[in-house]
């Protein structure tokens, strides 16, 4: 496949990343695998001893696992929406970051559902979901949604990779035979013929058009698992859009973090420019404002209406003796801080933006915790239970170990993928730098 000089340059610059795995990557890989092994030990305990090893009990029936599920699945939907929009839009600056967004999509949609398996009491019976499906249940909708979405994101990423695979195949890379063969198979005989180009582009556009509404639908369905129950704080008509926005928002933050990380590690300053941080920062700002607006509407309506059940929840969330500080952190670090940092020109730099994005992603995780746990701790009938663990949820170490293992799996996938394909797509690239940037960056680049 023919590359123009700009693309060729991008490829040559990155070829060493996919030719060798590297000491550093190996180091991290070992570390992640160790984390995963610790998680597997916790899983063994959970299977051998039962779910009693977790902090979940009859009132708080869902805990960290569901929080992680929402968190990762949210990232995934966000990645698909962002990648879809960037693919379809005419703005060329977005092209280099599409692949990172797609990585995020595919990897999180693999890691997220693992937490559902950890959460259900009988994962040996998961096939019941398919042999006795009950279409009325929002959980069945979610199973269909996630499966569809998974298939979609595999296709979407793969279609975007075909051209690159043909580049890797033809490049005479210094790599083992099997890898060469794999590239050859995956390139599907793509030669860059006009008809191939056209078909590929049409399929890619089609997938992008499908993925954007699909993400919105599946994120809403995820929210309905909660919204369709009669619980305070969950039974809300805005839950669908609230979850969609929350997903895209946290995903945007993680994309910034990933961009910063790869820029540092692979010295990709030429492709992930300051402008990228600025633009994604703007998007983050807008999303933060939107998310803040939704959050405010939620809390304000519940507080003002002051129904007994709702007030109790609001009291829990805002009283410093209970979740007050967490609510403060989630809203301050999750909404106000990103807005402030991006709004102030002096801090509108890659470093500060990445830092707040990182903190915001954590705050968004906490926010999910605040959506799940306090509501389950607010029961209609008084609990009148003397067993402390039944009244208040406290995550146990196996739950934390499995959470860390999940994050490690996520990062491990990222590491492996970035060694298999280039982080910046080669074939779809266009020179998008402004004159000024070109001048400056060329200087550092060479």
């Amino acid at each position: 496949m023919e590359l123009n000089t700009y693309q060729q340059e991008a490829f040559d610059y990155q070829r060493k990343n996919i030719e060798t795995y590297g000491k550093r990557a190996w180091g991290w890989t070992v570390f992640y695998v160790l984390c995963i092994l610790a998680g597997l030990y916790a899983l063994y305990l959970q299977i051998a001893k039962g779910h009693g090893v977790t902090g979940m009990r009859d009132n708080v029936v869902w805990g960290l696992f569901i929080v992680n599920f929402i968190f990762f699945i949210g990232l995934s939907y966000a990645g698909a929406i962002i990648a879809g929009i960037l693919h379809l839009s005419k703005v060329t600056w977005g092209k280099p970051i599409i692949r990172l967004a797609q990585f995020m999509t595919l990897i999180s949609v693999i890691v997220g559902p693992i937490f559902i398996l950890l959460c259900v009491g009988r994962f040996d019976r998961m096939h019941h979901l398919f042999i006795y499906p009950r279409i009325q249940s929002p959980l069945t909708w979610d199973v269909m949604a996630v499966v569809t979405f998974f298939a979609g994101s595999v296709l979407f990423l793969y279609l975007a990779l075909i051209k690159d695979f043909s580049v890797y195949r033809d490049a005479k890379l210094n790599i083992p035979k099997w890898k060469q063969k794999l590239y050859k198979i995956l390139a599907l005989g793509y030669r860059g013929a006009a008809s191939q180009k056209r078909h590929l582009l049409i399929s890619q556009n089609l997938m992008a058009i499908i993925m954007i509404p699909l993400s919105i639908v599946v994120a809403s369905i995820l929210s309905w698992i909660f919204g369709m129950t009669l619980r305070p704080g969950w039974h809300s008509t805005i839950f669908g859009p609230y979850f969609v926005l929350g997903a895209v928002y946290s995903g945007c933050g993680l994309l910034i973090v990933a961009m910063w990380f790869y820029r540092k590690m692979y010295k990709l300053d030429y492709y992930f420019t300051d402008r990228h941080f600025k633009y994604l920062g703007y998007i983050m700002l807008v999303l933060a404002a939107g998310y803040g607006y939704f959050t405010f509407s939620e809390y304000f309506t519940d507080w003002f209406g002051s129904e007994k059940w709702d007030s109790e929840l609001i009291h829990k969330l805002f009283s410093p003796a209970e979740y007050g500080w967490w609510t403060f952190f989630a809203n301050f670090a999750g909404i106000i801080l990103p807005i402030a940092i991006v709004a102030i020109p002096a801090t509108r730099k890659p470093g500060p933006i990445t830092l707040v994005a990182f903190i915001m992603v954590i705050a968004m995780w906490v926010k999910r915790y605040l959506i799940i746990v306090p509501t389950l701790e607010t029961t209609l009938l008084p609990m009148q239970d003397t067993r402390a663990e039944y009244v208040k949820y406290a995550a146990t170490w196996p739950e934390w170990a499995l959470t860390i293992a999940g994050i490690a799996t996520f990062l491990l996938f990222f590491t492996v993928m970035s060694k298999f394909v280039t982080v910046v797509p080669v074939s779809g690239l266009e020179d998008t730098h402004t004159q000024h940037e070109q001048h400056q960056l060329q200087h550092e680049h060479h």
Binding site: R57, D58, V120, G121, L230, R231, P382, R387
Partner: protein
């Protein structure tokens, strides 16, 4: 014609095998516990199929009638008892937190002390209002939020109004627990502790036993007893006749002491359903705690310390009047 004959034979064989299998399961269970009690043997040997597929021969003295033998197939257990519409009325004016209902329920279902399908809460509707004891079990809602959300139809609504659980189908997603606004359901977080002969029974939604790890369970209104015309153990055990159980279609309910007209009872005593506004349409009616048979403190004073501990938030209220 031929085909029909074969089918018929097939069915008969099936029923026979099924019967042997159930008896075997029960017998093997009871074998383990009755061996020590040195029963007089009858010399009458019976061939049985053990749970692991071996034919064993045991003395008929070791066969015991098992109360909890599933009497209907799983399919029938999903259908429900034709023509019935079970209903319960709870008389709050007569409850004194005696908790005989709770222990009777636990005993009948072989559940440990911590597992309460039926529990007694202390409610106080508003600050100035008098507190009262509130026995609470599954309401077998007619618009059950728990059933709506189950992804595998493991929890289902029957034609006789009961909401039951098939714990061999349940995947333990706990969605139903999150959905039930009344915190009715309990989960088997660990391997449930139950007698060996219970554990080896075949599970059936109508009996709720044996309990299975990683699945949900709850009050089932004891349909296995209803089939035999018996009242649920909680109803029978209550010394104050708090629970009335019966059939809405027949318009009769009984608390074991008296049998009355259901419609008359709920009319005369101004019955209400708990949190009607949630739209769940419970099948359990409450008679308001008016003209009480016992002062509310009685239920607190007579309770053992572990139970007292549950109501420590209301201590001032309950002890001041001592």
């Amino acid at each position: 014609m031929k085909q029909e004959e074969i089918n018929d034979k097939g069915r008969r064989d099936f029923i026979k095998t099924a019967a042997i299998a159930t008896v075997a399961a029960t017998a093997c269970g009871s074998l383990a516990c009755s061996c020590s009690s040195k029963k007089a043997t009858t010399g009458d040997k019976v061939k049985l199929l053990s749970p692991n597929g071996e034919i064993v021969e045991i003395d008929s003295a070791y066969l015991k009638h098992e109360e909890h033998m599933a009497i209907v197939s799983k399919l029938e257990a999903r259908e429900g008892i034709a023509g019935k519409k079970f209903v319960m009325v709870v008389d709050l004016a007569s409850c004194k937190n005696a908790r005989s209902c709770v222990s009777a329920c636990q005993k009948w279902h072989y559940r440990p002390k911590e597992t309460e399908w039926l529990t007694v809460k202390l409610l106080q509707d508003s600050e100035k209002a008098a507190p009262y004891w509130f026995p609470k079990q599954c309401f077998h809602c007619d618009n059950p939020p728990c059933v709506k959300v189950c992804p595998v139809d493991a929890t289902f609504k029957r034609q006789d109004g009961l909401v039951l659980i098939d714990n061999e189908r349940c995947i333990g997603c706990k969605f139903c627990m999150a959905a039930c606004p009344y915190s009715t359901r309990v989960f088997n977080w660990d391997e449930p502790d139950q007698p060996f002969d219970i554990r080896s029974l075949t599970s059936n939604p109508e009996t709720g036993i044996p309990a299975k790890v990683g699945t949900v369970e709850k009050c089932d209104f004891c349909p296995d007893r209803a089939r035999e015309g018996l009242l649920p153990p909680c109803v029978e055990a209550c010394p104050n006749g708090v629970f009335y159980f019966g059939d809405e279609n027949e318009d009769t309910v009984s608390n074991g002491l008296e049998t009355v007209s259901f419609s008359q009872l709920i009319k005369d005593r101004a019955a209400y359903r708990y949190q009607e506004e949630l739209g769940t349409k419970p099948r359990v009616y409450y008679l308001p705690p008016k003209d009480r048979a016992f002062p509310v403190e009685k239920g607190y004073q007579d309770a053992d310390s572990a139970i007292k501990e549950r109501f420590k938030d209301y201590k001032d209220l309950l002890e001041a009047k001592e």
